[in-house]
Amino acid sequence: MKTVLPASPRPVAASQAVWLWFAVPGVTLFCAFWLLPMVRLVGVGASGPQGAMAYLAVLTNRHYAASLFSTLALSAVVTLATLAISVLVGLFLQRNRFAGQSVLLAMLTFPLAFPGVVVGFMVIMLAGRQGIIGAVSNWLVGESVVFAYSLSGLFLGYLYFSIPRVILTVVAAAEKLDPSLEEAARSLGARPWQVLLHVVLPALLPALMSSGAICFATSVGAFGTAFTLATNIDVLPMTIYNEFTGYANFATAASLSIVLGVITWAVLALARSLTGSGVAAAA
């Protein structure tokens, strides 16, 4: 940073150490209330009758494996659907100027900070017993369609909280695209879908990967939405919750939640190393 006189290395080291004091309150809180409890949780996970093998139970036990599989499959489908929807909407909003456009964008990003329970309730409003989809289908075909309290309701809920977040990222990334590349492609005779596939999407790829990873990790770990819709939906967070409160099976709950945590952390870390940028995890 500055040229250091060779005669005085010690004061420099001391002045660097002073910065560390500023980190003490935050780091202490973090270690006391997250790091050490997590280490403890890893230990509890291995303290059951099966010992450390409990960490493999998520694969060997048919029930846990099924619930892990449905969690991952649901999250993957949600992520792909969210990315597709958000690219279409985000590009449209970024490319066109029309009256009410900023209002639309504000409305699309408004549910960003809704907690999972509220998102669950929104799904009930849409597809629940007194929901609008049921009312409309009842009016159209005389039979009310109700699917909020199942895996499809959960799908709708995860879409609901993922779309605002990914749209924001797509709009921000699309602002930075170089329009001359698309013009070049068009002047060479590329069809609109070819421009999208070969020019726009590759340029958006880092943003899509990082926001997709966040979307996937959030869906894997989401608890509030499933909790509101139905406690018998078979996704891993609900399984953990039921093991803990229903059967007081602490070791299993601990090992399953460690596995869940490792999965979400690994997905985010992978996306970050692939895109080389900071992937901020989501709320």
Binding site: M1, Q16, W19, L20, F22, A23, P25, G26, L29, F30, F33, W34, L36, P37, M38, R40, L41, L88, V89, F92, L93, N96, F98, M107, L108, T109, F110, L112, A113, F114, P115, G116, V117, V118, G120, F121, V123, I124, M125, Q130, I132, L159, Y160, I163, A217, G221, A222, F223, G224, F227, P237, Y241, A254, S257, L260, G261, T264, A280, A281, A283
Partner: protein, 267 residues
């Protein structure tokens, strides 16, 4: 001609997505003030349900606000100096700083359920602590701390803190004087963005809180889950309405703050 057509197809799709997000919000707001939602608006509008929620769940609202403000104070006191260290230690480019940043994000990357279980396993036997709102506060602080540190750090990295501080030091300002006189005013926009985020997240936090709460320490989202499960739809809606009124000003403030600080740095 074809372009117009494509525009309207895309507009229709965008409006459809928008409706998917907004219609349930409007419906639940309406349901909260409708006498009988199953019958419809024709049953009349009423504030009865809002009143009932206010009677039953008022303590959860105050408790959530108290926890959110306490959480804000703790994340300010712990997070701003931490961001300062991350920005300045060895010129802001050390392995230690990156490790701390990485670790701080872990409670956000890992599901709240796991964090909550870990806290219960580690401190659940301390009865008084377990039964107090401090137990929930601790969970909220751990979860929201990175949302304070990141925007503050981003602003600190983009403003020329080292030079400014050097100038102040050459004029005789001590370290604390520099911290409060130079560092904090320069990071104000990041602190504001972080503060709004922390309060919003704390007020709405459910995944951690549900495991940490006791019947005597229910927060607003916990009360919401309770109302959704055991009360009629109108009561749940009225409660949600109150929640919306609490977070909408925060959300508007947040959009405004990010737009203001976006001109300086990309968060």
């Amino acid at each position: 001609m074809q372009n117009r057509f494509r525009f309207y197809v895309q507009l229709a799709f965008t409006l459809l997505v928008c409706a998917f997000l907004v219609v349930p919000v409007l419906l639940s707001m309406l349901a909260g003030v409708t006498e009988n939602f199953f019958v419809g608006i024709s049953s009349g509008l009423t504030l009865r349900w809002v009143g009932q929620v206010w009677e039953m769940y008022q303590p959860t609202i105050w408790r959530s606000l108290v926890i959110a403000l306490a959480c804000l104070v703790v994340t300010l006191v712990a997070g701003v100096p931490l961001a300062y260290m991350l920005a300045r230690y060895r010129g802001g480019n050390s392995r230690l700083a990156r490790l701390i940043e990485e670790l701080l994000m872990m409670p956000v990357a890992v599901p709240g359920l796991a964090t909550a279980l870990a806290l219960i396993m580690a401190y659940g036997t301390w009865r008084d602590f377990r039964a107090s709102i401090f137990f929930i506060l601790v969970g909220h602080v751990i979860f929201t701390l990175p949302f304070m540190v990141r925007p503050v750090l981003a602003v600190m990295q983009s403003s020329q803190l080292a030079q400014l501080e050097e100038a102040a030091a050459s004029l005789g300002a001590g370290r604390m004087q520099r911290f409060f006189g130079i560092v904090i005013p320069n990071a104000a926009s990041g602190i504001l963005a972080g503060a709004l985020m922390v309060v919003t997240l704390s007020v709405g936090e459910f995944n951690i809180t549900w495991m940490l709460h006791t019947p005597l320490t229910q927060t607003l989202p916990v009360g919401l889950a309770d109302a959704y499960a055991s009360m009629r739809l109108e009561v749940g809606s009225a409660y949600t309405l109150i929640f919306f009124f609490m977070i909408i000003p925060l959300l508007i403030g947040m959009q405004w703050a990010t737009q203001a600080s976006r001109k300086k740095v990309r968060l």
